[in-house]
């Protein structure tokens, strides 16, 4: 159970505090409600490029990282298709340093052509390292536009095309900042050895005078219901074939999300799971398998994937996965098997609460979904699920016409 207090500043900034006196540390998390889905289709990769620029100095403080390190702190950030998240951990007595730094970069960045040029290079190298110079690295560049034809989830956070990053101008970057980086579009969470009153006082002091900004009204093109199966086959210089099957899945805030998540656990969470037992061990068709949800705020994807052994054909691989999905649609999951995945969900939840930073990140995420208190409801939302509902959800999700298949063929005849 993560107890918390909440407070909203007049400029719209939401702040949430959780005290954990067992640690000498504090974690400060700032979530901005902007992700790759909010990008202009001609300027993709911007949210992530922007994340890099947030470390390049703000209006009063030339070097974010150094000042935080001077206070014994450490930080990082991540960008997803839904949001951009920044976090700091530091000795609790130096909490105010994080407020000083985070508020200044929310107020205004110290933009410059030089810094932009360097960070564009860094991001281009990241793009090469993670997407291009890796076996199977371009999978999501292929799978997203296959599964999404309207919704901006069709591009990955790094961007659709490297040229979007290369061509980004300082003016565009500034515009992005003004549009998304203001108190009304942010959530601040503080956890660790801190007191709520003190955190609220510091929030007023450091964030109180930042102008609220224009509210961002999100209106994204929604993905139409898929009416026929899609298929893309590519050949790459990789040693083994891999198959990806994607079905449109529920958004993070929908009731069915929990049933879908448990279905993915039934398929592949742990070595007793169905795909591992039947297809990796029993029939020895795959060297590895996975089933998971992308877990997005808008409608995400349910992915089933596997790396094929040399003697497994692509068609047989797909057929084997289809049989497992059909089984979920036709047969009710037994009590013990269902209890097993619920127990796993409960345990994972408790493990995640053992860490002060994870708590800060999670509180912010659930607040973005509408209520930080959702964090504490997670175990219940899983445990109340029933086999009938899982079966209904499987029937709804795994319709043949909703399938997108990516066949990723190895160009080698033998590895």
């Amino acid at each position: 159970m993560v107890d918390f207090d909440k407070y909203v500043l007049s400029n719209g900034l939401r702040v949430i505090v959780h005290r954990d006196s067992s640690t000498p540390l504090a974690a400060v998390n700032v979530l901005y409600d902007v992700g790759a889905r909010d990008e202009d289709p001609q300027r993709t990769g911007f949210a992530h490029l922007f994340e890099h620029l947030m470390f390049e100095g703000s209006v009063h403080i030339p070097d974010f990282d150094t000042k935080l390190q001077d206070a014994g702190g450490e930080n990082n950030a991540f960008t997803s298709n839904d949001l951009t998240n920044y976090y700091d951990t530091l000795p609790a007595q130096n909490l105010e340093t994080a407020f000083w730094l985070e508020s200044d970069r929310m107020l205004e960045l110290a933009f410059s052509e030089e810094k932009l040029a360097v960070q564009k290079n860094v991001v281009i190298e990241e793009f090469r390292q993670s997407y291009l110079n890796q076996p199977y690295g371009d999978v999501w560049m292929l799978l997203r536009p296959l599964a999404y034809q309207q919704h901006p989830y069709m591009w990955p956070t790094i961007g659709k095309d490297i040229s979007h990053i290369r061509d980004a101008s300082l003016e565009e970057v500034k515009h992005f900042f003004r549009k998304f980086y203001h108190p009304g579009n942010a959530i601040l969470t503080v956890t660790g050895n801190v007191k709520a009153d003190e955190v609220f006082r510091l929030t007023e002091k450091w964030f109180g005078d930042i102008p609220g900004g224009e509210p961002y009204v999100r209106s994204l093109p929604q993905e139409p219901v898929q009416t026929s199966a899609r298929r893309l086959a590519v050949e790459r210089d990789v040693p083994f074939d891999q198959i990806f099957m994607a079905f449109p899945c529920y958004g993070r805030g929908e009731d069915e999300f929990y049933a879908a998540d448990l279905l993915s656990d039934i398929l592949s969470n742990g070595s007793s799971s169905r795909l591992v037992q039947r297809l990796v061990k029993g029939r020895r068709m795959f060297s590895e398998v996975n089933a998971y949800l992308t877990g997005n705020l808008d409608r995400g994807l349910f992915i089933v994937t596997g790396k094929l052994h040399e003697d497994t054909g692509m068609k047989d691989a797909e057929q084997a996965f289809q049989e497992e999905l059909e089984a979920l649609r036709k047969e009710k999951i037994g009590e013990r098997e269902l209890q097993k995945v619920k127990n796993k969900a409960e345990a994972s939840h408790v493990y995640s609460e053992a860490n002060v930073l994870t708590k800060a990140v999670n509180l912010a995420y659930y607040e973005l979904m509408g209520d930080a208190g959702l964090l504490n409801r997670q175990p219940e939302l899983y445990s109340r699920e029933e086999a009938d509902h899982l079966q209904e959800t499987a029937n709804e999700m795994f319709k043949p016409e909703c399938l997108s298949v990516l066949e990723y063929h190895s160009s080698k005849t033998s590895p």
Partner: protein
């Protein structure tokens, strides 16, 4: 344009940890002599039980044997099938983490405290009487071989493997480079022999952390303290290997289509318990041990050559090494190498500025605090002490040396241990 606000130009006052309250846990013993250490604490009802065996791939007679013997413990026993074992472990929401390293094999169970009692008998069984079914061995070998082949397409993997070989030589277990053919050479009897010789109570230390059930020691005693579970009569031979006397020449592994090259530069260094070690660790941090390091500032933040670059010290029980690692665009590979050597040289020729030293000290002291946060982190630190034979005072010493270190000491340390001419270089990719 925002008007500058004077109060924002003033950094808030800071205060750093001077001392660390870490009391090494008391050494308890089970009836059969196995040492047990309990680190109780934490906010959640979770327990982590680690069975640490003090022998690893250094002791194996064939490649992969330690890895397989450790990872197939859960693949079946005389009493239980692989399916039964995974059903129980999954049903109780456990995470079983198996590490097979150079000097240790570790099996850690993370479990909700309320469920510990339901899985201990199983844990005992898989540790003490694994049967290593042939079919499970075949499957793991085949899948692991797949992974190896896939990884061999990554420049970073190639650089890492070849770098170890260049450092320690092809015969040394710390330097041995895995090959595809190795996957066809291991049989069930190799695993059984390894288990007999190295996975037994004579080699075991138990470290438990988190929140314990009321009868923790009794539970451990009944599952791991019995007199019937014994060390073998003949203790395993402690192999000895020579390391190369001369440093290897630079190695370049050509990959035609590479967009980036993976670089590793480094050398063998002093052991963990050496009196210079802490100073060397601080010196390394300045070079490449954190985001504000010289390498990161120069090569990522000023030049934009890479997404990331870092350097580290790695300790094994018998050896240790230092390395710089990065992936850079092939067109700047040469330039990046030059900058890496320049920064290594600068460590011994250019004193850290007051600001640099201040950031380094403060960051490291905060990081030190982070590395002891919570019972699981403390258990990790404690394990490190055991494996490397450090005394608890070592950690107080770290803060003391950090506090006292001067730019001159750093330069001397670099001169003594990190001379740029003593470095081995491996590049995989294109240039």
């Amino acid at each position: 344009m925002i008007r500058k606000m004077t109060f924002r130009t003033q950094a808030p006052a800071i205060q750093l940890p001077e001392q660390l309250a870490f009391d090494a846990p008391e050494k308890l013993r089970l009836g059969n002599g196995v040492p047990v250490y309990l680190l109780e604490g934490g906010t959640e009802e979770i327990v982590r039980l680690e069975l640490l065996f003090l022998a690893g791939s250094y002791h194996q007679h064939k490649p992969l044997v330690t890895y397989l013997a450790a990872n197939l413990l859960k693949a079946g026993t005389e009493e239980r099938s692989s399916v039964e074992i995974s059903e129980v472990l999954d049903f109780y929401g456990t995470f079983l983490q198996v590490e097979a390293q150079k000097d240790i094999v570790s099996v850690s169970l993370l479990v909700l405290t309320k469920n510990l009692e339901y899985v201990l008998a199983l844990l005992q069984d898989i540790i003490q009487t694994p049967s290593y079914p042939g079919s499970e061995l075949e499957i793991l070998l085949k899948n692991k071989k797949h992974q190896h082949i896939i990884n061999s397409g990554k420049v970073s993997y190639l650089a890492r493997l070849h770098f170890a070989e260049q450092l320690f030589g092809p015969e040394h277990p710390y330097g041995y480079r895995l090959r595809k053919g190795d996957f066809d050479q291991v049989g069930r009897e190799d695993l059984l022999a390894y288990h007999r010789q190295w996975i037994h109570p004579g080699n075991l230390v138990v470290i438990a952390s988190g929140r314990f059930p009321s009868e923790m020691m009794e539970e451990l005693e009944s599952h791991f303290g019995g007199a019937s579970w014994k060390a073998p009569n003949e203790s395993g031979d402690e192999p000895a290997f020579a390391v190369p006397l001369q440093k290897a020449d630079p190695l370049f592994i050509y990959r035609k289509d590479a967009l980036q090259s993976a670089i590793r530069v480094g050398k063998r260094i002093i052991e963990r318990a050496d009196e210079d070690y802490i100073r060397l660790a601080i010196t390394n941090a300045l070079l490449g041990g954190f985001f504000g390091s010289r390498l990161m500032k120069n090569i990522r933040q000023e030049k934009g050559y890479t997404y990331g670059i870092h350097s580290a010290l790695v300790s094994m029980v018998r050896e240790g090494y230092f390395f710089v690692s990065t992936q850079v665009g092939t067109e700047v590979c040469k330039a990046a190498l030059e900058e890496i050597y320049l920064e290594i040289r600068r460590l011994r020729t250019e004193p850290a500025t007051a600001a640099e030293l201040n950031t380094l000290k403060n960051y490291l002291s905060g990081n030190f605090l982070r590395s002891f946060d919570g019972p699981f982190a403390r258990a990790e630190r404690f394990r490190e002490m055991l494996v490397f034979g450090l005394k608890p005072v070592h950690y107080d010493l770290f803060l003391k040396e950090l506090h006292e270190i001067t730019p001159e000491t750093i330069m001397e340390t670099a001169h003594k241990h990190l001379h740029e001419e003593s470095m081995i270089e491996v590049v995989a990719g294109n240039r």
